[in-house]
């Protein structure tokens, strides 16, 4: 426990008493000795009480606990046009502890009738203010929200749900709690707690002689300890100030401190502290304290929403949270819960009928996986990394900060599912590992991070820590460098896919081969990228200059200092998926470099905003060359090494991306984007042994799987004013007519487009005809 300080042992007053001896025969001043002894005892006890009083008040005032920072996912927002499947919405509601009911009448409940939902959202205090609880009808058509209306039938622009808690930043003690006020407790919690634990609470002064007597009788009858006589105040003192030892001295101390506590503080404050202090379970290393957190931990619901049966279960568990653990020992827990319910009926706290109804209900405990607050450890790692730049570890683990992140719970789950299921499908090799990073293509919001094939695994986070050679993923930087020189390079400029031998800068030679071991001679630039020809990339890279390519990589967002070796061109540097994501983010956003942001805002325990991590952008590339590169990366997907993606995604959706494969098939990479998402996937072995997978036969499958399960938008043209689109015969680097065989339409920076025709019919008349035809089309 964090705020607990050790107390000094009581000085044994008895010593004085026992050391006094009486001598017979002499007149003994009995009264005087006894008086002195009594006085000494009183003084000593008083002094000790003064000391204890200081301990009690010091710890009880001010901050009672270290409250770990709470981390939240981005809230689900519903609005007309929003793309989310009804199934995803329903499971998200369940995950957030929304109860499916017939009659939606209180916050935290919902009803679904086919494609129509009625949701009674919970109010929540966001960094930008309070969002009230709302009753909203939501209509779907397929995966699209088509209508949102309030109780009165009037349409609403949008509904923001409370955010899903996804973890915390814990101190070394791993003690966690969610502070609540007495007013935030459900109707029967306090009456039930007092009925079971301390029925004279409002009448005693810290210790209850009647309770002790009652307990003694019960214990004598039973021939052992079956009942405790401790009051709530004593229990609090024991938990809050003392250790668990069962000695008389500690009991005495406990009694004095309980009296002192009652002397200084009112019943409500003591009770509130108890409600927050009481230990109610264990989640791995994390200790669950207080009813607020216990409610989330067992039911995924805010405490206030608990029904009678659930309330009774929590009260039942106070006696022994591990013995009555409803997940491990449901029968025991059920029996004791019903006992609590019976007591409530006996003492007329709750009507008998309601008790009987509640007794028939199941425990209502959600699975541990559902509320696993560290469900997304890889993402939380990113959050911590970003937070540590601005906050002290101590503040993070004790000040009760609330961290609002950009994690999209639906995207995150789909990403993890894709990694897990693809690796499973790829074979029986359980050693095969994977990682994935997903961000918002236009804003850099980090939406999902997967660091292991097993969901919830909180160990080595490959998305951030596994640095592996990236292979062909860097090739776009070579061609972008070239395309920025529009006088020299266009998408159809022939580049040399011919054997190359270059000094490797370290005394040897570098002679890269193509994957197929064949050279293809002169190929159009876009095709060299689409087919990922190594020799073409090496030759082009050397032609534009290694230092220029390194500069392009830097501008694309690669922060690490890369060595000026030619092998860099073919991706010899090792990078983590998150670094690769930064580079492809710049391409996906059309040439704007922006940080990947895991955190949106941080507020203090009172809800006051402390920091906001807003988008910041920087144009790193002109739209013209970027449009050309994006066209080539689109061809990678349509006709190149990434074409398998369209086995997963609708052919009409424009995507861009690049495969990456490293020597001996050790690493399989895929990096790509849609109009709204950037995703980087990696597959490999932790011991770096070969995987027998190329980028296309491995990581691409995770990517495609993922994209097929989330709403995807097409990549849009950048609309660069200096770009013109013409029909060409790419292999001849000449203009063509659209009806000529092999003709394709490609963008060119104005003035760099080929002038001569190399199509099937190269006369001007046809060209004019084409033009006119083009106007009508």
């Amino acid at each position: 426990m964090v705020n607990k300080s050790t107390t000094k042992k009581g000085r044994p007053a008895k010593k004085t008493k026992s050391s006094s001896k009486q001598k017979q025969g002499n007149p003994v001043p009995w009264k005087s000795i006894l008086f002195k002894l009594g006085l000494t005892l009183v003084i000593l006890v008083s002094a000790y009480a003064v000391y204890l009083d200081a301990v009690v008040t010091k710890q009880f005032e001010g901050k009672k606990w270290a409250i770990p920072a709470k981390v939240f996912a981005r809230p689900v927002e519903l609005y007309v046009g929003n793309l989310i499947t009804p199934g995803d919405l329903q499971s998200q509601l369940r995950r957030q502890g929304y109860q499916a009911v017939q009659d939606v009448s209180r916050p935290g409940t919902f009803a679904r009738n086919g494609s129509q939902f009625i949701i009674y959202s919970r109010g929540f205090h966001f960094p930008d203010g309070a969002e009230p609880s709302r009753y909203v009808k939501v209509d779907f058509q397929g995966s699209e929200v088509t209508r949102l209306a309030g109780r009165d039938g009037k349409s609403l622009p949008l509904l923001r749900l409370d955010p899903q808690p996804i973890g915390g930043i814990y101190p070394a003690s791993y003690e966690d709690r969610l502070l609540i006020r007495n007013a935030q407790t459900p109707r029967y919690l306090i009456p039930a707690l007092l009925a079971i634990e301390d029925r004279d609470y409002y009448d005693h002064f810290g210790i209850s002689p009647t309770s002790i007597a009652r307990a003694m009788v019960a214990n004598l009858k039973a021939g052992g300890v079956v009942q405790g006589g401790s009051t709530i105040t004593q229990q609090l003192v024991k938990n809050f100030f003392l250790t668990n030892e069962r000695t008389l001295v500690r009991k005495g101390k406990e009694a004095i401190m309980a009296l002192l506590l009652e002397l200084h503080y009112d019943k409500e404050e003591i009770l509130e502290t108890y409600l927050n202090e009481v230990y109610l379970g264990q989640h791995g290393r994390r200790a669950i304290h207080g009813f607020g957190l216990a409610s989330q931990f067992y039911f995924a619901q805010p405490l206030k929403e608990l029904d009678l049966a659930r309330t009774a279960l929590l009260v039942a568990m106070v006696k022994g949270p591990s013995y009555y653990d409803p997940r491990r020992y449901p029968e025991r827990a059920l029996e004791r819960r019903n006992l609590v319910l019976d007591v409530l009926a006996e003492r007329s706290i709750v009507p008998v009928a309601e008790v009987e109804r509640s007794k028939k209900l199941p425990l209502g405990v959600v699975s541990r996986e559902l509320v696993s607050t560290n469900d997304f450890p890889a993402y939380i790692d990113m959050v911590k990394e970003q937070l540590r730049k601005d906050y002290d570890e101590k503040d993070l683990t004790s000040e009760g900060l609330r961290i609002f992140t950009n994690l999209d719970p639906v995207i995150q789950r789909e990403a993890q599912k894709s990694v897990t299921s693809t690796l499973k499908a790829l074979g029986k090799d359980n050693q095969l590992q994977g990682a994935m990073v997903v961000s918002s293509a236009q804003t850099g919001d980090l939406l999902a991070v997967v660091g292991d094939r097993n969901p919830g695994y909180a160990g080595f986070n490959r998305a951030i820590e596994a640095r592996r050679p990236v292979g062909s993923l860097l090739k776009p930087a070579i061609y972008l460098t070239a395309l920025e020189r529009s006088g020299q390079y266009t998408l159809t400029t022939p580049v040399n896919d011919t054997p190359v031998k270059i000094s490797d800068g370290r005394g040897g030679y570098w002679e890269p081969q193509n994957y197929s071991r064949e050279s293809h001679g002169q190929v159009p630039l876009y095709l060299a990228l689409a087919k990922s020809y190594n020799q073409a990339a090496a030759n082009t890279g050397m032609a534009v200059g290694l230092s220029s390519v390194l500069d392009t990589l830097k501008r694309l967002g690669i922060e690490q200092e890369l060595p000026p070796y030619p092998s860099v061109l073919l991706g010899s540097p090792s990078m983590a998926p998150i670094e690769v994501a930064k580079m492809y983010q710049t391409i996906a956003s059309g040439g704007f470099r922006m940080p990947l942001r895991a955190i949106d805002a941080v507020v203090d325990s009172q809800g006051k905003p402390l920091s906001r991590y807003s988008i910041s952008v920087e144009r790193a590339f002109e739209p013209g060359p970027m449009e050309l590169l994006r066209t080539a990366l689109g061809i990678v997907m349509k006709d190149g090494t990434g074409r398998r993606v369209y086995q997963y995604v609708d052919k009409d959706i424009k995507l861009g991306g690049k495969t990456g494969t490293t020597n001996d098939l050790r690493d399989s990479w895929f990096a790509g984007y849609s109009g709204d998402l950037v995703a980087v996937t990696w597959i490999g072995h932790d011991d770096n042994s070969p995987t027998k997978l190329t980028g296309s036969s491995g990581a691409l499958k995770i990517w495609g799987n993922f994209m097929s399960n989330v709403p995807v938008q097409s990549v849009q043209s950048l609309g660069a004013s200096n770009v013109t689109s013409i029909w060409v015969n790419p292999s001849a680097n000449g203009r063509s007519h659209r009806y000529c065989e092999g003709a394709i339409q490609l963008p060119y920076i104005k003035g760099s487009e080929p002038q001569a025709y190399a199509g099937c019919k190269a006369d001007v008349k046809d060209s004019l005809f084409d033009k006119i035809k083009g106007w009508f089309e």
């Binding site: 609005y79 007309v80 203010g129 622009p157 236009q442 906001r612 807003s614 849009q716």
Partner: protein, 142 residues
């Protein structure tokens, strides 16, 4: 309303202060046209006095309206939040980036304002919005 008056007055003063030439031109034009300076300034400033999103009922429009009003009233934090939400809902809507660029301008973060305006331009704004963005860029560059 009061907030708006203050902010508009400030804006007029800013324009006058930073651009003596414009001031002379406006006076001259004002005399010719027989109308007062603020009207002309309104013509120069494509931003209209009340939120252009006031009538919008959709999610994006509602948030843009909220952001506009908050920014006009100097509640920058609120404007920032509303734009953050708008950006999550419509990450390719150029209006969101334009509004954020205006907010950065009001916050005195001119370089970021310029970058965001460029970003808005890159997302294919319509004719009217493009004009507004270009106006902002000119103001930032001057």
């Amino acid at each position: 309303m009061m907030y708006y008056t203050i902010s508009r007055t400030e804006r007029c003063e800013k324009a006058v202060f930073f651009s003596p030439r414009l001031f002379v031109a406006l006076l001259f034009a004002g005399a010719l046209a027989g109308c007062s300076t603020p009207v002309l300034i309104q013509e120069e400033q494509p931003e209209v006095s009340s939120s252009p999103y006031e009538q919008r009922q959709d999610a994006l429009g509602t948030l843009l309206n909220q952001a506009w009003n908050a920014r006009e009233a100097g509640r920058f934090d609120e404007a920032e939040s509303a734009l953050g939400r708008a950006m999550r809902i419509s990450p390719t809507a150029p209006e969101v980036y334009y509004q954020l660029a205006l907010l950065r301008q009001d916050q005195g973060r001119f370089e970021q304002s310029r970058q965001l305006a460029e970003r808005a331009l890159s997302l294919g704004p319509g004719f009217m919005l493009e004009r507004k963005i270009n106006h902002l860029l000119r103001a930032l560059n001057s």
